[in-house]
């Protein structure tokens, strides 16, 4: 009996370790106070990226919600110049992915323009499959890599 208890306690410890590992970013972000209107505020409270399906540049419903929040925030803080970076997962050829990334960046840009962000504030660049985030070769990593990231300066 005591053996079983000890084992389950051990299992619980592993669970906690696993959770804190996964949530490091969220946890540390939550404890950091970000200045409203800062790049950190944008990344943490608005979300700087939207995701795409395989070989697609159609902005999904979850992406539209993120871009709506971005548009609202960008209207409020009109001093930022914006570069939208298009990215792809690694399962395409280099040159095709440069083009696909441009298409994704452009899709996000057009959406923000439709929400009232002046076109002159919005540049695009594609990194194809050259800048993965996260680095990984599984479905989960690929899904996070098919993205358009709104970068502010």
């Amino acid at each position: 009996m005591s053996m079983i208890k000890a084992l389950s306690a051990l299992a619980a410890m592993f669970l906690i370790a696993a959770c804190s590992n996964n949530d490091t970013q969220t946890a540390s972000a939550a404890t950091t106070t970000v200045t409203p209107g800062s790049v950190g505020d944008f990344r943490q409270n608005v979300g700087d990226r939207v995701f795409f399906d395989t070989d697609s540049s159609t902005v999904r419903e979850d992406g539209r919600q993120t871009l709506n929040r971005q548009a609202e925030w960008l209207k409020k803080y009109g001093n930022y110049q914006i570069t939208i970076e298009g990215h792809c997962d690694e399962r395409g050829t280099r040159e095709y992915n440069l083009a696909l990334g441009e298409r994704r960046a452009n899709a996000a840009r057009q959406y923000l323009i439709a929400q009232g962000i002046p076109a002159a504030r919005l540049k695009t660049v594609s990194y194809g499959k050259e800048r993965p985030d996260p680095v990984g070769s599984d479905e989960a990593a690929w899904a996070r890599n098919r993205r358009a990231v709104t970068a502010l300066e």
Binding site: D55, S57, T83, E85, E90, R91, G92, T93, R94, E95, Y96, L98, A99, L100, E102, R103, N106, A107, Q110, V125, S126, Y127, E130, R131, P132, D133, P134, V135, G136, S137, A141, A151
Partner: protein, 440 residues
């Protein structure tokens, strides 16, 4: 660089009567297009007369062994230890070790230059198969060894060699999410590696000019600047922007005569193919579709361009007239087709194919028929042709794991798909671009 002067060595024919072994099975010729053959057994004796002679023989052995068509007999097996470079060898001794061919050479210092004489003996018929003499700067010894390797290859296969060539590629270092990607260049066998870009921004897809001294490639600008196409002299290092176009320009490739560059320009979600006249810098649009048209490549005769496009849904290969128009699809298999590269001989188009199971490198005839896959893997990409159109180089990338980028390496394969070999590079490597033969 002082280029080697070459002379054909005659006189071997007079030695032809020294006994013919008509029963020997091995031959000094090979038809590399046949579905199966035995590699030609060959012995390469250290060249005499100078310490560099042994190094030259080493380079030749390495070239011939690596091309897959030869079996280099180890020197420990040799019976005749001391072979004169000018008089006939003891053919029976070389038949005994199973050699079909024997390479001998002599290096002589002449003033500030070296003179290199080499002969290829046909051990089966006891005749000189070929022989050449070169005079050059001593620092050119590696090139001389490559030129001799090409002469042997040509005599045995009937095809032009490809050893006196260079390969430009993308050197990859650093963490997976922030890789440094710079253009590097090396000899075909991995020697004389050096870097052509500084790595401050990502540089990709180098491609050689048919006139050799120049490459085109794509590089990002500083501070998130968009990708642009650059032209760079590989010897002087002088680099210039090919043109400052709206949007981003990438996927450049020279025309066979070197006067034009085709490339893609992406703007507002559309990627089309353009052609630029290198001298006059006139830009001309060749495709006009809302799709992604990229990876253009001229046919060997310059009359057509093959490219990949997703205009019909998934990526497929299309051919059009060099001036644009007449576009027609040539790939119809399962999966997506990309990076078509026309053989310098004009007979085949090499490509990357993406299927549900992974990536493959294949070849098809230029009308799209006769598709054959040569290599496959988690990620294989970017075929480039050796100048003889009989060998390809491409890159393999392993899956990433634990947040670390999977390693990337260059590989060489012949068009029968029989011999694949990793090409050594000092760092991870991708995007190989094979040069034409270096002018002598």
């Amino acid at each position: 660089m002082m280029l080697p002067r070459r002379t054909t060595l005659l006189g071997g024919a007079a030695l032809a009567t020294l006994g013919v072994a008509g029963t020997a099975r091995a031959q000094l010729t090979i038809d590399m297009t046949r579905p199966s053959f035995e590699p030609v057994p060959i012995a390469i004796v250290d060249f005499k007369g100078d310490a560099v002679g042994a190094q030259m023989a080493g380079v030749i052995r390495n070239n011939l062994q690596n091309c897959g068509l030869f079996r280099v007999i180890p020197s420990s097996a040799y019976i005749q230890k001391d072979v004169d470079a000018t008089s006939p060898p003891r053919f029976q001794d070389w038949r005994s070790v199973g050699a079909a061919g024997l390479v001998v050479g002599q290096v002589t210092s002449v003033g500030g230059s070296i003179k290199v004489d080499f002969r290829l003996w046909d051990v089966v018929t006891s005749q000189q198969a070929t022989g050449l003499s070169f005079t050059s700067q001593p620092s050119n010894w590696r090139r001389l060894a490559h030129i001799i390797s090409d002469a042997i290859y040509k005599r045995v296969t009937g095809e032009e060699g490809y050893f006196d060539t260079r390969v430009a590629y993308v050197s990859e270092t650093g963490p997976g999410n922030n890789r440094t990607k710079r253009i590097a260049i090396m000899d075909q066998d991995g020697a004389n590696n050096r870097y052509l870009t500084d790595g401050k921004t990502i540089a990709l897809t180098p491609r050689f000019s048919p006139t050799l001294q120049e490459i085109v490639y794509m590089a990002y600008g500083e501070n998130n600047g968009p990708p642009r196409v650059y032209l760079q002299n590989v010897d002087s290092g002088r680099r210039e922007l090919l043109g400052n176009f709206p949007g981003m320009s990438f996927a450049p490739r020279f025309s066979p005569d070197g006067t034009k560059v085709v490339m893609s320009i992406a703007e507002n979600g559309r990627t089309n193919i353009y052609e630029m006249d290198v001298r006059g810098r006139q830009l001309r649009r060749l495709t006009n579709s809302p799709a992604i048209d990229t990876s253009p490549c001229f046919s060997a005769d310059g009359s057509q361009i093959v490219f990949n496009s997703d205009r019909g849904g998934a990526q497929q290969l299309y051919v059009m007239s060099a001036g644009g128009g007449g576009e027609r699809r040539i790939s119809f298999g399962d999966g997506r087709y990309a990076t078509p590269v026309w053989s310098p001989r004009g007979d085949f188009i090499a490509f990357t194919k993406i299927g549900s199971g992974g990536f493959g490198i294949g070849v098809m005839r230029s009308d799209g028929s006769g598709e054959r896959m040569l290599a496959s893997g988690f990620l294989v990409e970017g075929p480039t042709w050796a100048p003889n159109g009989r060998v390809l180089m491409f890159f393999r990338q392993q899956p990433s794991s634990g947040g670390r980028a999977g390693s990337a390496s260059l590989h060489q394969i012949d068009i029968t798909g029989r011999f694949e070999r990793q090409v050594p590079t000092p760092t991870d490597a991708s995007d190989p671009a094979w040069s034409p033969l270096i002018p002598q």
